[in-house]
Subunit: 350 residues, 2 copies
DNA sequence: CTGAAAGCGCTTACAG
DNA sequence: CTGAAAGCGCTTACAG
């Protein structure tokens, strides 16, 4: 009487149910070519035996049903990327897929062939495709592509090296987002509008471009701090605001590359004895958690992180289905969230 | 000349290398019983063919090497749990494991047998064990246990129903953490210390317990707002602070159940024209991102989320190894982070 | 040290 | 609608 606890497999179920293993398999896979009666009977036996099919054995033959969500070159999973991850996972669940979370470090300079990938990607069969977020350089993309994996990137996180690669991407339009914010300020009567954000980062570069466009269109003079500054965004904001107030032209409103920078700006502003929005208006970007709870709740341009995650997963599934002959991209709209940090200065409204 | 692109498998490698498949397999698994020469030769062929072993086929026979990280009953992956996830993933990588991220919804009332789990858990072979975080009720734990999966919970996230279950858990001591914070205030000369946090939540209940203990030990009078209030933590903090200032005894310092509540408190405080820490001292809990960037940088009790994640993964691996005969728990220490929100009131120092 | 063969637990033509 | 058999791509005693 050995404790032959050994796992109950499909053969065992077939034996007890007095059917072939093929029949059991068909029940498992909801095959149409099976009689209701047998189906019911087999199901009963499965329940009785507490049989659980082995996921991996099945996946050798079918798809793995797994997708890798990679956070690249980022020491922390901050709320923005956490939102993307969660969006991806929720959509994956609807599509009967699973999400493996992976942190990858891969410096910019390493040539693709020398990149050592985690076994999850190196081995075949684990995942069907990869979603790339974080700080992604072309070398990593090349390396993963060589593995024959489908890739979808969060487009705004890709640092291109000039020649833009053709990629499946989900992205938001930072140019348009910042135009929207600038127009909003202009419509509120502001004429002296500054922008703050280190344009080394591609997302701030885009925003800066939108900012300049909007101001030029209204014949206003750009006045921006876009140089390299302190590492931390909050510190960058403080630093940049101080530079702005040291300058000749003091703005009535400041556009910030993200909400954390805006927080830093607000610190400096208050430190100078000024109030938001009474003395100076402030607009953020991203709509992170911090925006809604700032002292004067921050008006900001929302980038819907969960929606980006959902779209990434959908696009990846689409590419997997069609074999990925051509690339496509999906644009996720940004949205201006009006809160309390912008002052109405009268003047014309369009 | 068909595009027989079909995947190159181990048999193909063996054929080209003129060895048996067993030999190739041994090379793949770094077996010791193989000559250096054959090994090298086989490796060359593998490279030449671009062969990638199929992860799933291998895992039928060995372990799956996957672990599920579940966020239970939580609509958002906030930074705290994101920290746990990331800690778990980083340790998993060291231990050559992979982390599948899963969102689970499972209301408190459903009896275990009626809980419908995602296929990832329902099927056998996917994951070796599960890490449970979020808002976890006993019904879910029973259900997953019945599947024969090893479980490690983030202990502070488990809502017990009185009779405490025996669980593998990683936890921090909220009682001790809040004692530490209270003692700190007392050592700074504070005598009228309030606590704020809805004790419906187990973590706030523990903290409240510690708070009361510390004050009693010094013959001080507790003065707490622990009732149900607004849903949002920030709003709860505002609301609670207002109640405190409406009361007979106005405290000189306030302990908050978490940093967001502390933020709310600081809002109300300022709104009343008081300053932190000049007029009132404030201490938070958790040390979330917001703490460091608050107007007067928040002194708080740090709960190291990444470390919790790492410990969860380690404990799970340990249980998997030993077969999990008995349960164990790991305590992660909290740490008081001194910043600028507490005023020194003179008086005795121990 | 190496190879032929059995086996892991499943799915899927194929033939009824 | 159903079953026996071949096959998915690997690992691992077993026998040299």
């Amino acid at each position: 009487m050995k404790a032959k606890k050994a796992s109950i497999n499909i053969r065992e179920v077939a034996r007890v149910a007095r059917v072939g293993v093929a029949t059991v398999s068909r029940v498992l896979n909801d095959s149409s070519l099976i009689s209701a009666k047998t189906q019911e009977h087999v199901r009963a036996v499965i329940r009785q035996l507490g049989y659980r099919p082995n996921a991996l054995a099945r996946r050798i033959i079918r798809h793995s049903e797994m997708v890798c969500f990679a956070l690249v070159n980022r020491p922390f999973l901050h709320s923005f990327h956490a939102g993307i991850l969660q969006g991806a996972e929720s959509r994956a669940r609807m599509l009967k897929r699973h999400v493996v979370f992976l942190g990858i470090n891969c410096p910019k300079e390493i040539p693709p062939s020398q990149i050592v990938l985690p076994p999850l990607l190196e081995e075949k069969g684990w995942v069907e495709g990869v979603i790339l977020t974080g700080v992604v350089y072309p070398n990593l993309i090349s390396r993963i592509e060589a593995l024959g994996l489908q890739i979808v990137v969060f487009g705004n996180n890709v640092f291109t090296d000039g020649r833009r690669r053709e990629l499946n991407k989900v992205w938001y339009d930072g140019v348009e987002g910042q135009i929207k914010a600038a127009e909003y300020l202009i419509n509120h009567g502001h004429r002296s509008i500054a922008f703050v954000g280190d344009t080394e980062y591609p997302w701030f570069r885009e925003q800066y471009e939108g900012y300049v466009k909007a101001l030029r269109a209204h014949r206003l003079r750009p006045n921006a701090v876009i140089r390299k500054g302190p590492e931390s965004f909050v510190e960058y904001g403080k630093w940049a605001a101080n530079r702005l107030f040291d300058g000749k032209v003091v703005p009535t409103a400041i556009l910030s590359g993200n909400d954390e920078i805006a927080l830093g700006v607000s610190r400096s502003v208050r430190h100078l004895g000024l109030r938001i929005p009474a003395d100076i208006s402030l607009v953020g970007f991203d709509d992170r958690e911090i925006a809604a709870v700032m002292e004067s709740a921050l008006t900001t341009v929302k980038v819907p992180s969960q929606e980006i995650g959902r779209q990434c997963m959908e696009l990846l599934m689409e590419k997997l289905r069609e074999g990925g002959s051509h690339v496509s991209s999906r644009l996720v709209p940004t949205q201006l969230i009006e809160r309390d940090s912008v002052m109405w200065l009268g003047s014309e409204r369009k």
